[in-house]
Each structure stands twice: as structure tokens, then as C-alpha cells.
């Protein structure tokens, strides 16, 4: 899956990789992050 130019929905988690982190990473791959969120289960 080539992320370049794709619209990415980033669903992160506090104890794993957070939404803002996923956004940075996806953007570094040339993706357009249209939604990012961090879930907290507790």
C-alpha cells in the first residue's frame, strides 16, 4: 500500500502510538491525514 497522496485516518492509542504521532509519520510518507485521534480506554 503506497501511502503517498492517500487520505489517511489515523487511530492511535495512548499506550501505543498516539494520533498526533501517527499523523507525523503518515505525513512523512507523503500522505494527507484527514482525521487523527488518540483513544484512551481507561
Amino acid at each position: 500500500m503506497d501511502l503517498r497522496g492517500r487520505r489517511v485516518v489515523a487511530i492511535g492509542e495512548r499506550e501505543g502510538v498516539t494520533g498526533p504521532s501517527l499523523k507525523l509519520l503518515a505525513e512523512s510518507a507523503g500522505a494527507d491525514v484527514v482525521f487523527s485521534v488518540t483513544q484512551c480506554f481507561v
Binding site: R14, E15, G16, G19, P20, S21, T38, C40, F41, V42
Partner: protein, 473 residues
């Protein structure tokens, strides 16, 4: 010379609240959508004796060590402790009538009415409680019916009947509706129990307490300052801390660790001699994961309100208590970044390195101590295990241990989660009672308490928060 601050005593309480589960935030919303869920929830709730015998609850009140829990096979709700005692080494469990009784004696504005039968049960279940027991009075059922008909509010249930009513205090104030007041009254009442037990076990008179720091998450206030109020003095008043004032520290789940550091600093600076850090139970979180529990055919396990209290004061000459190493306090600064690596670097590694210590110089880490049996059915995983493995990976990155030692690091310096999912309760601090016991008996020299908070939940920042401190013998 300035005094060395210490956590001198810890006290924890669990109040069984099966009939308040329906008023938890998640159940209220879901039952509103599908009323058939209510009887299904009721059917999946556990009776008192099963709640008492539930191994994680026995760990929470100090009758079972966390390491002993690790050797009890799952599911824990089936492998219960035989002849378990609701009175623990540093905590206790109380029945639902006792909880209602505590709420009644904490109610300074006639918000809550209960019937005579419930009042009698409550009084009997609180026979060893020292404060305001005369306030646990009942009304007759007819009066209760009239009250419910004439006021907006919520019914309070016991043994399948309407046994009480809590009223809305102001019709046009969203901060004073019955559901908000129920949350606040529950938090106050359960905190009162923990603080009362704390003072009794510590042998400190209530009037010796100088300052109270509530770290619960409830929003006390009215429409002009929703959440701006305080529970600290409200709790201290009930237990007779006549010489104390107080304030609340809010920081989501990490508030208790912020509060303990602040308490230690107040003692070290000589501002106050004795500070009590307290936190009541979280009504909103009852039944939070009930949907996953029903789907998986397991009991609805978020059925208890948890509370806690800690006495912070000068370390005794006899070495009693957990010495608070304020020089080793850790924080997650705004500029640190929110990756797990950045968070643990700031919270755990930086304060240790600053003092020439290694991660392996800490005997036990206490992290998010959520009971995995509650979180796993909903797909939320084993939160403590994830935290411990992340800490171990950090030690690998620092070349303190080899990659193959991650498992043994977790087994040796971690523990299974045993705390109910009650918001601010689980983050690190449930271990302090056990740490006190372990240090007293010489089994532990140094522990680190680490808490994180999800600031982003309030939609005001994407940041997470975190703080930590080290305690020593």
C-alpha cells in the same frame, strides 16, 4: 533543618454499588437507547459475597499481595478467595446500604432521602463508623413517593425496590442536576470513609491535620464555575479536621501523583506538618465497559466505587513510612513530545539519571494498575502489562538489560493490575499500601510511582500528562 517528607499511611475502600451502575455514564446513555439492557445488566451484576471474594479486590484492600494475584489463574471472578474478609490490612469493602448511609451523613443540603428500612440497614452496616451516624435517618415510603412526584431527580434502589430519591437542586442549572450531585455526593462519601479509616489506622487525631488535597475528578460547582469547586474541606469537615483547609488538584488520572508531590513539598518546606491526599469514587465510571462484559458473558465487574487517602508528614525517627524522594520527582514537560519514548524518558529515565541511578535500581514500578479482567473483554488489552513491557523496552534501549530479559524485567519489577477502572484511582497509587507493608518487612527498598493522564479527553490540548516520584525505605 527541613523535615524529610514521607507517606506515613495509606487507606483504601471499595463500596459495592450494584444499583448505581445504571447511573454510570455509559449505562445511562445505552439504557436510554435500549431499555431492555437494564434487566440484562442487573442479571450480570455480582452479589456482595462474590465482590468480597474477588481476588483483585482483596489485593486492593491489602489482604493479598499483588505477586500472589499473579499466581491465581484467570478468570479471577471464578477463582475466588474462600472465606475472604471485607476488612483488609489497609482498606475495607462496604455494602451498598453502608454506602447510602455514608452519602446520607455527608448530605448537608437535604438532597438525598432514603426510606426507614434502608436507613436501618445502613446504620447497622456502619456500626463501626465514628462520624455523624445520627444523620442516617429515613422517611416513610409515602413521603418518598411524594418527593419523587414533586421534584425532578433520580430514584435510589436497594434490593429491587425504590428505597430513596436524590433531587435536582436547581432546575435551570446543569451543574446542580441530580445526576451531577449524585456523582459529587458519592465521591465525597467514599472519600470520607477512606480518610476516616486513614486517621484511625495512623493514630493521628483529626485536628492534627493541617491541609487536605482532593485529587478526584468530579466537577463540583454551579453554573458559573462548573468544576471550579472543591471537595477537600467538605470531606475534612465530616471527619473532624477542624484545623485544616484544603484545595483540589485536577489532572485527570495523574492528579493523585501531582497531589502527593505537592503534599510532600508542603511538608518539606515546613508550611504544614500533616497533609492528607484523598480521592473519592467515580460514579460516572460504574459499568463503563458493561457492553463488552455482557457480550462476553462475564459479570459486569465495574460494580464498586473505589476511594483512597494518604497521610503525608515528616518521616519518623523510627524510619516508619515511605520516604518521598522529592529530588527524584519526574514530570512530562509540555515540550517533551507525546511518543511513549519521550514520555518514559521524561517520567522515568531523566530523574534517575539526574541522581546517578539506573532503571534496574528501582525494585518495583507502579504504573497504570487497571485490572485486565475488566479491560480485556472490550479489546482494551492488559494496560499494566503494556506499560511494563514498554518500560522494559526502555531499559533495553538504554542497554541496561538485554532484549531477552524483557519478560523477567516485567515479572520482577512489575505486578498484575488489580485496581478498578475508577479514573484517578488506578494510576500508580494503589500500590502505596503494599509498598508500605513490603518496606516495613524489609522486602522492598525503592519503588517508583508513575502516573499518566489523558489531557486530550477534554478537547483543550492534544497533550498527555505524566508525573512520577520515588519512595524509599
Amino acid at each position: 533543618m527541613s523535615p524529610t517528607p514521607a507517606i506515613l499511611h495509606a487507606s483504601y475502600a471499595l463500596a459495592h454499588a450494584p444499583d448505581l451502575v445504571r447511573y454510570g455514564s455509559k449505562p445511562v446513555r445505552e439504557i436510554g437507547r435500549d431499555p431492555s439492557l437494564r434487566p440484562r445488566i442487573t442479571e450480570a451484576l455480582r452479589p456482595w459475597d462474590e465482590v468480597v471474594a474477588y481476588p483483585p479486590n482483596q489485593v486492593f484492600i491489602g489482604n493479598l499481595a499483588p505477586d500472589a494475584l499473579a499466581s491465581i489463574p484467570r478468570p479471577w471472578y471464578e477463582n475466588r478467595i474462600e472465606s475472604a474478609d471485607p476488612a483488609g490490612t489497609f482498606g475495607r469493602m462496604v455494602t451498598q446500604p453502608a454506602l447510602y448511609g455514608l452519602m446520607k451523613l455527608c448530605d448537608d443540603f437535604d438532597l438525598l432521602a432514603i426510606d426507614g428500612e434502608l436507613a436501618q440497614q445502613a446504620g447497622a452496616d456502619l456500626v463501626d463508623f465514628d462520624h455523624r451516624r445520627g444523620r442516617i435517618t429515613g422517611v416513610d415510603p409515602a413521603e418518598l413517593r411524594t418527593m419523587a412526584a414533586e421534584n425532578s431527580g433520580l430514584d435510589i434502589h436497594q434490593d429491587g425496590r425504590r428505597a430513596g430519591f436524590i433531587r435536582t437542586a436547581h432546575d435551570q442549572d446543569e451543574a446542580l442536576t441530580a445526576s451531577v450531585l449524585l456523582e459529587n455526593l458519592v465521591s465525597k462519601a467514599t472519600a470520607v470513609l477512606a480518610v476516616s479509616d486513614l486517621l484511625r489506622s495512623a493514630g493521628v487525631a483529626a485536628d492534627e491535620i493541617d491541609y487536605l488535597l482532593n485529587c478526584g475528578e468530579e466537577a463540583v460547582g454551579d453554573r458559573y464555575q462548573r468544576g471550579g469547586g472543591s471537595l477537600s474541606k467538605a470531606v475534612g469537615e465530616v471527619v473532624g479536621c477542624v484545623n485544616a483547609t484544603g484545595s483540589d488538584i485536577k489532572a485527570f488520572c495523574s492528579a493523585p501523583v501531582h497531589a502527593l508531590i505537592a503534599a510532600g513539598a508542603l511538608v518539606a518546606a515546613g508550611v504544614h506538618r500533616y497533609v492528607v491526599v484523598l480521592g473519592g469514587g467515580s460514579q460516572a465510571k460504574l459499568g463503563m465497559k458493561f457492553g463488552a462484559h455482557l457480550r462476553n458473558g462475564v459479570p459486569v465487574m465495574e460494580d464498586c466505587l473505589a476511594s483512597m487517602a494518604f497521610l503525608v508528614g515528616p518521616a519518623g525517627a523510627d524510619g516508619e513510612g515511605l520516604r518521598l524522594r522529592l529530588d527524584l520527582a519526574g514530570k512530562h514537560p509540555i515540550g517533551a513530545g507525546s511518543s511513549p519514548k519521550a514520555v518514559y524518558e521524561a517520567l522515568v529515565v531523566e530523574p534517575l539519571v539526574r541522581s546517578g541511578l539506573r532503571m534496574t535500581d528501582i525494585d518495583k514500578y507502579a504504573v497504570e494498575m487497571h485490572n485486565p479482567e475488566i479491560t480485556e473483554p472490550g479489546g482494551s488489552g492488559d494496560v499494566p502489562r503494556t506499560n511494563y513491557r514498554t518500560l522494559a523496552a526502555m531499559a533495553v534501549l538504554r542497554r541496561e538489560i538485554g532484549r531477552e530479559e524483557i519478560g523477567s524485567f516485567v515479572a520482577e519489577r512489575g505486578m498484575p493490575g488489580f485496581a478498578p477502572t475508577q479514573g484517578h484511582i488506578p494510576a500508580g497509587v494503589p500500590y502505596l499500601g503494599h509498598a508500605l507493608e513490603a518496606m516495613r518487612s524489609g522486602r522492598l527498598d525503592r519503588a517508583m510511582i508513575v502516573a499518566k493522564g489523558s489531557l486530550f479527553l477534554g478537547r483543550m490540548t492534544q497533550l498527555v500528562d505524566g508525573v512520577s516520584f520515588v519512595v524509599e525505605r
